[in-house]
Symmetry: C2
Subunit: 168 residues, 2 copies
């Protein structure tokens, strides 16, 4: 009758990141097909004061590594944020997927009402794990995941909803 904190986080992040890896593969191939420098896509943004594609992917993975780590009371792994190519972004996704595979459901026991401390929108905040997952980590994660996709769609990369969802 309920969802475990593990089920609501780890498999969700994993499935979405696998789909994102496919999205980025299609984008890289499309750049090659169109003879477009991959940097054009990697540095593309939807508005001058929004993050470019590379940063969107970095932040999406930050939430995917940060949320389960915080909920399971592990230290959040630090990444260098120095990705400069599609291959680098794929390596970051693979590293995050490898991390997600190391979590066990038992590590999330009690995480729904355990307090989590973090910086959110520039402020130090503290909230119960369930609120953190459902109302901070997930909305943020999906925001950057979708915006990465939207940047590529806006640049003419042939994608579709079923690819975003990981259905193909």
């Amino acid at each position: 009758m309920t969802i475990s904190m593990y089920e609501a986080s780890v498999p969700v992040f994993s499935a979405r990141l696998k789909a994102l890896a496919n999205v980025l593969d299609i984008a890289e191939q499309n750049a090659a097909d169109r003879k477009i420098d991959p940097q054009v896509y990697l540095t593309a943004r939807l508005a001058p004061d929004m993050f470019a594609l590379t940063r969107q992917v970095q932040i999406a993975t930050d939430h995917a590594k940060g949320a389960p780590s915080r909920l399971a009371r592990r230290e959040v792994p630090k990444y260098e944020d120095n990705e400069a190519s599609f291959a680098d972004l794929q390596a970051r996704l693979a590293k995050t997927l490898d991390l997600l595979a190391t979590f066990s459901a038992a590590e999330f026991d009690g995480s729904d009402d355990r307090m989590v401390e973090l910086r959110l929108a520039g402020r130090e905040v503290s909230m119960p794990g369930m609120q953190y997952l459902l109302h901070a980590a997930m909305p943020n994660f999906y925001f950057h995941l979708t915006t990465a996709y939207d940047i590529l769609r806006h640049n003419g990369v042939p994608l579709g909803k079923s690819i975003f969802l990981g259905l193909r």
Copy 2:
């Protein structure tokens, strides 16, 4: 130690739709300030073969009314999909928020492994409620919610992540 299917759905949809109402309010005001016909924003899209703003909002609300209704074994309310103004979209959001307020947690008992039938990406599919919520309804909902925001950001509407998250 776990999340109820109610907590993982109804309050999440409600909080995100309230933030979306604020996003649309800011967009409408911005159009007035810039003397831009509101239809410019309502019909804006990020790619020729992506949906325009109005349709993005419609689909986001479709998931917000559809997922809880299906999980609670209620009939999914039908909307006419004839919104033509910011006021119409606000009315649709308000109607959906009113619907969400009628759900009780008890209606979601057993919904995690009860099968849900629906059309997804053009196919009739059936899946357990938990999989439906976490891997179909939520990714779809966040996709359209974020894309609505991205369309407006791309058009210069002054928004920020904290507005998307409903923090202000």
